[in-house]
Amino acid sequence: MQDNLQRSSYEQLEQKSKYTNMFLRWFLYFVLILFASYFIFPLYVMVVTSLKTMEEIRQGTLLTWPSSLNFDSWLVAWGGRGYGAGDTFLRPYFWNSIKMVVPAVFFSTFIGAMTGYVLTKWRFKGDQWVFLFLLFGCFIPFQAILLPMARTLGALGISNSVVGLVLVHTVYGIPFTTLFFRNYYVSVPTELVKAARIDGAGFFKIFFKILLPISAPIIVVTVIWQFTQIWNDFLFGSTFSFGEAAPIQVALNNMVLSSTSVKEYNVDMASAIIAGIPTLIVYVLAGKYFIRGLTSGAVKG
């Protein structure tokens, strides 16, 4: 009798905790979906608006689904309408950005790897000061260096050019890339370098044959970081370039803000998406290495 009573109360408790768990679980999903929609909503509006005609935009609401899939505004955003003066479209500026971002990412990553290698494996007197000043470069507001940089670019004769932007982005990428590579190489045993020195490898051979082959995770992290920074940059692009040498973000701004006629929301939205696509592609392709590279760091044996 006693036993039965006991058992039934246990069963009741079990039942109760089951319901509580179920409720909490559904609540969790509800909250997650709520936040997810909050974040996905702007993207939805952008995509949907870009597919509508101006007619539809004027008549419907933000959320209305387009009546037909109409990619005209994408074509206009990319290639223009085909008439002469005042027709701004993204294609040439997209290639400007590519021409800027590829060398800038390559050089800043490479130089960062080299600097990180020297700061950890070829220590010299005062190296921690060099590192400290490099770190300082990470925190300095970029607005503060606009004027001196403009003078420098002028003196070098590369202002208002893609080459100039490559230089600016390489220089201001180095503090970050160095920080990444230094922190990664710190966890690589220095005995590797010693062993290689005894084996007869020199400074560059050790870097290229021993350290670079094990740096894939941190290279991915650095490339994603630099690509995003440089591709999305507006400040340097708008300050140091104008007209035909401008990168895509500046062109996007000019397109959206300086059009004299009626606001074409569908074209604006399509342009904004085109300007954002390359970063998305980089994230999708290398995203899983990004997480792996951020969390791992140690190379064990």
Binding site: P189, K194, A195, A196, R197, I198, G200, P213, V299
Partner: protein
């Protein structure tokens, strides 16, 4: 000709002196162990021999040739590291031949060396594997192989067994010993483990605070430590050092301890210098294993002591006795029963004792 000679070598990092006027010589085929507590400078000394550290003063000679300013790769040495330091991106084969390739050795010669060494070390089935796919013992073997293929004049080992677990460490220790017996190469080996040092070395240099305390055969290091540091560092538990005074009369030399009701006659002790022994403050050193429960030799000196503490460790037991208010440890087989807090008869083996000057702490 000395295979390795170190002359008046000093090294400092900033204002800290790491090595102070080190002198050291090794003959061909010897196995020298640098032994000492961490921070004594033994690894720095090894790095200097390898050429990985610069020298502040003094010189290093290999085969009578001054290599003080020679690059590591040109010193004809090879080194095995504690973390193995195998190149993670290369497989075993590439790891082992990396040095030969740098030295532009011919392909045929490289293949020949690789085959010989990998068979010898039984890693020939692992050649295509990456270091991450190897066990600790295999990694160690490959690291040794990488050193062997270069056929160096001197092998340098930097605590190569410290990363292995206890069982594997004993196994690899035996393998290194066999290796040395077969190849008869000259080795400098750094460790902080006295068992490793004792079992491997033909010579042991004990270091402390950047100074070599004693450089001798394992037997002499154990039996005739040259100062209290060496006496205390070697042996487990370490040597008992009992503070007292010497008393010299016409026929006798006695060791007396304040508060003890007996004096120990030490006439048979082999003094290095017999002048001014009377009233000298000394440490009387006797190892726990040289205190017996049964009289073994005729000269054994009998004392009555009270046991305070007993530590049972399986094959033996370590007993702590009160020797005129100083601790005295003794090691017995665990079959012997000794009661605590009761007088026990013990026998000191006076042929095995050491005496140290209490002020200079060096052997007398």
């Amino acid at each position: 000709m000395k295979t390795l000679k170190i002359e008046e070598l000093s090294k400092n990092f900033g204002s800290t002196e790491v090595l102070k006027k080190i002198n050291l010589e090794i003959d061909e085929g010897n196995f020298l162990v640098l032994l000492g507590p961490s921070g004594c400078g033994k690894s720095t000394l090894l790095n200097i021999i390898a050429g990985l550290e610069t020298i502040n003063e003094g010189n290093v000679f290999i085969d009578d040739y001054n290599v003080s300013k020679v690059e590591p790769k040109d010193r004809n040495i090879a080194m095995v590291f504690q973390s193995y330091a195998l190149y993670p991106s290369m497989n075993v084969r590439e790891n082992m031949i990396f040095g030969l390739k740098q030295a532009k050795v011919s392909k045929e010669k490289i293949e020949e060396q690789l085959e010989k060494v990998s068979k010898f070390l039984q890693v020939d089935s692992l050649l295509e594997r990456k270091p991450s796919q190897l066990s600790g013992g295999q990694r160690q073997r490959v690291a040794i192989g990488r050193a062997l293929v270069r056929e160096p004049r001197i092998f340098l080992f930097d605590e190569p067994l410290s990363n292995l677990d206890a069982k594997l460490r004993v196994e690899m220790r035996r393998e290194i010993k066999k290796l040395h017996q077969q190849l008869k190469t000259t080795v400098v080996y750094v460790t902080h483990d006295q068992t490793e040092a004792m079992s491997l070395g033909t010579k042991i240099a004990i270091m402390n605070h950047g100074v070599i305390q004693q450089n001798d055969t394992p037997e002499n290091i154990y039996n005739k430590p040259s100062n209290t540091f060496v006496a205390d560092f070697i042996g487990s538990p370490s040597m008992n050092l009992i503070k007292g005074k010497l008393k010299q009369s016409s026929s006798n030399i006695l060791f007396t301890v304040e508060g003890a009701n007996f004096d120990i006659p030490i006439n048979s002790y082999d003094f290095e210098n017999t002048s001014q022994l009377d009233n000298k403050e000394v440490y009387f050193g006797i190892r726990p294993e040289h205190i017996y429960f049964k009289k073994t030799n005729d000269d054994d000196y009998e004392v009555n002591l009270i046991a305070d503490l007993s530590e049972y460790i399986g094959h033996e037991q370590i007993m702590t006795f009160n020797f005129a208010n100083q601790e005295l440890l003794a090691k017995f087989p665990s079959t012997i029963k000794i009661e605590l807090n009761k007088e026990t008869k013990l026998y000191f083996d006076l042929t095995q004792i050491s005496l140290f000057d209490a002020n200079s702490e060096s052997r007398i």
